[in-house]
Amino acid sequence: MGNKEKDIKELHNEYMSEIIADGAENETLRTAIRRAREAYRKNLKKALETFPESVEYKEKARKIKEYAIDHLEELIEKTQKAVERNHGHFYLAKDAEEANEIISRIVGKPKKIIVKGKSLTTEETELRQYLQKVGHEVWETDLGEFLVQIRNGRPMHMLAPSVDLTREEAAKLISKITGEDLPEDKIETSVAAVRRFLRDKFTNADVGIAGANSISADTGTLFIIENEGNIKLTASLPEKFIALVGVEKIVPTLDDAFHMVKTTWRFANYQVPSYVHMISGPSKTGDIEKVTTYGAHGPKEFHLVLLDNGRIELSKNKDFKEILYCMKCGACMYECPVFWVTAGHFGKSYPGGIGALWDAFIAKGFKEGAPSVYSCAICDRCRVRCPLNIDTAKMIIKLRKVLYEKGYAPSTVKEAEKKFFGDL
């Protein structure tokens, strides 16, 4: 919020200082990304060799998203009806502030223990920070996001929030919080230490919060992909489960939602994820006299908070609505030459080239989002890697025109204009 007072020059300078000092100058980060990129490619190859039909998923996924974004408001209404029919609670938050307030009301009085799954939408609203500020104890339970929380950072990749860390750095960070002296070369001891540390939080949690990878409007079902098992616990153990999801994740049917989910995991490099959850409402039983009673072993309450925050308006913008097709599989980032040297320092709430567009239109606004728009190398490689063929470079170029007209371009653009085009 304070950035509104900063002038654009200051914003560009601050961004450049961060992206150079914390990103490009950091040799360890480059090593970590190089390792992650090689692993991504190897895993993707294995996944596509095992399931060659996945290549055909792309076209259908694109069509599903095109339809969904063109019928967004209609699908939101359908989702509401389905969720309420399933005895869930439905909310449509117009912006980040309203989403956080709604969730805060659902959570209730302070000092609750909240376990949270990884979610870029909650990063967009800064939900963890908001709930901590009003007095709750909040724990990120995805390992990568847990590392983000304990180092007070922000996600460096859409799916792998701590992709910038080496095993050695991760072990050091975890040792600090658990008080153990973990060996730096063994990833499994770090993983086990976090498991031990968070186990107690899961069992005592009052509220579980997560995002979702897709929602089917016909049944009001959330699909959540995960590998760690933290979502399983987050969505099952606490009395209340809250999902904060961007409206763009809605697709018409259960089949469509599953198609989006399998496309996401396959191009996120998995042959198959360990878990895909389908959640359509609160836990219930009809085992005694066939009387439906809510709150059996799982949460008694199910709340779906859908976040608009500019998405509905963007869905009507023919030049930029493609931004909303992004499934956040993160594949593009492994092939982005700028991401290779900066990780998520290229971006703010959302990393990478597509992230720069999300920041500008959704999370941060044109002014604060402007600097990362100029970090894109316009090489178009992300489009080739994107399973939905999203033309990020083309949209970045169009957005630069808007930013130039608003006076948000960096001084280098003005210098180039003068140098190359000044005399003509």
Partner: protein, 248 residues
């Protein structure tokens, strides 16, 4: 054949005079009569990429007027940007059309060699070719440079591979990494790291003796990257420089 060579100023701006020399030499070997537009700024793609396209529309109108005055048979450039601009953006978005074809140098030479048998000396070395993003991914034109390089006896051409390209039915060139040259216009400080990383991650492991991009902008990125990374074992060589060496 009357050839208007476009993008000369850009080559001078980026101090790629050796590349310019080789372009002029090879065009002459192909029997071209070369002309330039003095002070011309060809790099229209930059105006689009920087978001200032509307403001510089008069430049393109002026370019068109000059072309009509010079009346070349063909316009050629080492930069893909002008090719993209004049074959795609200006006709489609602004109704500006040229009366003569505007082609990339690789396409000019591929066409020339398809009609004329050159006498090319063997070049027993490894050459890494980067398919520039504008001519490549954005326009899908990969064939010409391959045709030209394949004519050189004993040359071993190295292209960037991509592990899933075949599985996905995609030309690996579609996945060619970017040496980051467009960042020179927006965030040059960041661009230096991208260029250095390109050299270290893409070029060095493939161990070519020479490397070049189809596009003079990408080629500039590679040159800068080699300098920043202080790699002497790989020499930057634009394809016309290579052609000039072997064309007797």
């Amino acid at each position: 054949m009357k050839v208007l060579l476009s993008g000369v100023v850009n080559l001078k701006h980026t101090n790629q005079l050796d590349v310019l020399e080789s372009i002029e030499s090879t065009l002459k070997k192909a029997g071209a009569e070369i002309s330039h537009i003095n002070g011309e700024i060809m790099c229209g793609e930059a105006s689009i990429n920087l978001g200032i396209s509307d403001k510089i529309l008069p430049i393109f109108k002026k370019f068109k007027e000059k072309v009509e005055e010079i009346k070349p048979d063909v316009i050629v450039s080492a930069y893909a940007a002008g090719v993209a601009k004049w074959s795609r953006d200006l006709p489609n978005n602004y109704g500006l059309k040229l009366s003569v074809p505007y082609v990339h140098l690789s396409e000019f030479f591929a066409d020339y060699f398809s009609k004329n048998k050159p006498n090319l000396k063997p070049f027993p070395h490894t050459y890494f070719v980067q398919h520039g993003c504008t001519l490549g991914r954005k326009m899908g034109r990969y064939g010409a440079i391959r045709e030209v390089l394949n004519l050189i006896p004993e040359l071993r051409v190295i292209e960037e591979d991509y592990p899933t390209a075949e599985l996905e039915g995609i030309d690996p060139a579609e996945f060619n990494s970017c040496p980051g040259a467009w960042l020179n216009f927006t965030q040059p400080d960041l661009g230096d790291y991208v260029k250095e990383n390109y050299v270290l991650d893409i070029l060095v492991p493939r161990k070519p003796e020479y490397a070049g991009s189809t596009c003079a902008n990408g080629h500039f990125g590679i040159r800068q990257g080699l300098e920043i990374a202080e790699i002497d074992s790989i020499k930057p060589l634009y394809f016309t420089q290579l052609l000039d060496k072997v064309w007797e």
